[in-house]
């Protein structure tokens, strides 16, 4: 299998802080990868670098074998590399339906500029309705999203990213801010929608139970470096991961 997303020596420094330290990551087409790490490990920085929100200090980002280093989020999105946000980035004064329609409208306007056929021969309105159904957002269709619960906004944020049929979707902590008993239901929904489209996924997650349940491979970051990469069982058993990410070692030593 070929890598749809690859970084080579990806580095980003903010003054004395190295948020990404020579990262070599390859994400196989069609895989679902979990990205874990403590606060400040560089997980969101990685997403920001890959999607062009931040310019790397050095290193390259390859998408489908093509160098996309330094391209703006707009161009990266058009190539089929989309993301969702840790804090939902939605359009507060619009309804859930209108929120979906904004992105789909952009696709409809620039069919040629987008890679792949996100809409096929369907209208943006039809696809928006379908996404509302798939993400069970129907009840909120005509409500302004400013007043919706955080879990719903989170779902909408992911739905907006998925609506334009990306080839790879980067989910930044899809379950943060969602109550513990809603997490699995939310992820089941999201993953079912994603698998139906055959989209490659890399998602950042703090909750190890969520990670274990959904991914085939885990990347563990610590201080901008990869400390473990592989099957979930092996990574979560890794000594450094237990010490720095999961925190179990610290508990055993009585530090907490």
């Amino acid at each position: 299998m070929s890598a749809i997303l690859e970084t080579r020596g990806l580095t980003k420094t903010f003054g004395a802080v190295t948020a990404a330290n020579a990262l070599d990551v390859a994400v196989e087409t069609g895989s679902i990868v979990g990205l874990i790490g403590g606060n400040g490990a560089g997980k969101t920085t990685f997403i920001n670098l890959v999607t062009g929100y931040l310019k790397p200090t050095s290193g390259t980002v390859l998408f489908d074998g093509k160098d996309i280093t330094g391209l703006s989020p707009r161009r990266v999105t058009r190539l089929g590399l989309c993301r969702s946000f840790q804090i939902p980035q939605v359009f507060d004064s619009l309804t859930a339906y209108e929120n979906l329609l904004v992105g789909l409208g952009v696709v409809a306007m620039g069919r040629k500029a987008f890679v792949g056929s996100a809409l096929g021969n369907r209208s943006p309105d039809d696809v928006a309705e379908e996404m509302l159904l798939r993400f069970r957002l129907g009840p909120y269709r005509n409500e302004k999203v400013a007043t919706l619960p955080e879990g719903v906004r989170k779902l909408l944020d992911v739905a907006m990213a998925l609506a334009v049929k990306p080839r790879i979707l980067l989910l930044d902590e899809p379950t943060s801010g969602v109550s513990a008993d809603e997490k699995f239901a939310l992820m089941d929904l999201v993953l079912a929608a994603i698998r139906a489209d055959g989209v490659t996924v890399l998602f950042v997650e703090h909750d190890m139970d969520v990670v274990k349940r959904y991914v085939g491979r885990i990347l563990a970051f610590y201080e901008g470096r990869i400390i473990a990469d592989g099957a979930p069982g092996a990574v979560l058993a890794h000594a450094d991961v237990r010490r720095y990410v999961v925190g179990e070692a610290a508990v055993e030593e009585g530090a907490c």
Binding site: S93, L94, E98, V102, V107, A113
Partner: protein
Amino acid sequence: MSPSRRTALGLGAALVAVALVGPLLPKWAAYLFTIAIAKALVALGLLLLMRTGLVSFGQGLYFGIGAYAAGVGADALKLGDAVPMVLLGAAAAGLVAAVLGLLLARYRTIFFAMLSLAFSMILYGLLVKTSALGSTDGFNVSARSTFGLAASGSLGRFGTYGLAALTAFAAATGLDRYLRTHLGRLAPAVRDNELRVEYMGASVRNVIHLHLVLAAVLAGAGGALTALAVGHVDPEMAYWTTSGEFVFVAILSGTASVAAPFLGALVLELLRSFAYEHAPNTWQLVVGGAMLAVILFLPDGLWSVFRRKGVVA
């Protein structure tokens, strides 16, 4: 019936009513209506900008350019008819915005407002110093005909009035339709969350640039119509108080409907005329008091009166 069709029908009915009532109006009322429509066109452009999240304190720039271009064009290009004069005014304003937009589209909030104001004051300064354009006195502007109807004829007397009404109808229905397109729907999206718009694959700067040009075209048309109605242009048209008045109209009207600026501008013109007649020394107090009342009781503008009654425009 779709909302856009309902708006178009409402505006069409308003156009017919305005056209029918025109010849019956006393001259002062026809003039007042024309001026109100011309100012409403500028406020309509502000409505578009406000929906995109921007407030321009410099629309006097495009208003002034539209007026002067119509006047200069009439002389230099031997334009005798009002229609090409208005088109020329609108085009000239749009062209200037297309150039200035390269810079303006990079700014937001107060920085955008102040930069737009600065550009308008540069034009004011230039006009005041240019003796060929009459310096502070400006110069007279007149059209020999409107749609080929001689200005001296019985119908031609209402030429500018009719042209203003038609322009307003075209502008309002056009903008309403635009706001319902995929591109137009990006306006509130840009206002709410620029980051997400970029992450949806659209260019925020291009959207803002386009809206700056559209707003300028409307302001230019308004300026040209004002020049024709008044029969005169002067640098005051580009002065910051003129720009401020357009913002005043836009806030008074509210941004809920493309028809709102016309109501707001008409109310302001009527209020000012009557206040000036009955309280010549304190008319500003009356107008200011009215604005205060609107802000306090109708924070979404005059148009929200219709909303509260459940009549959706």
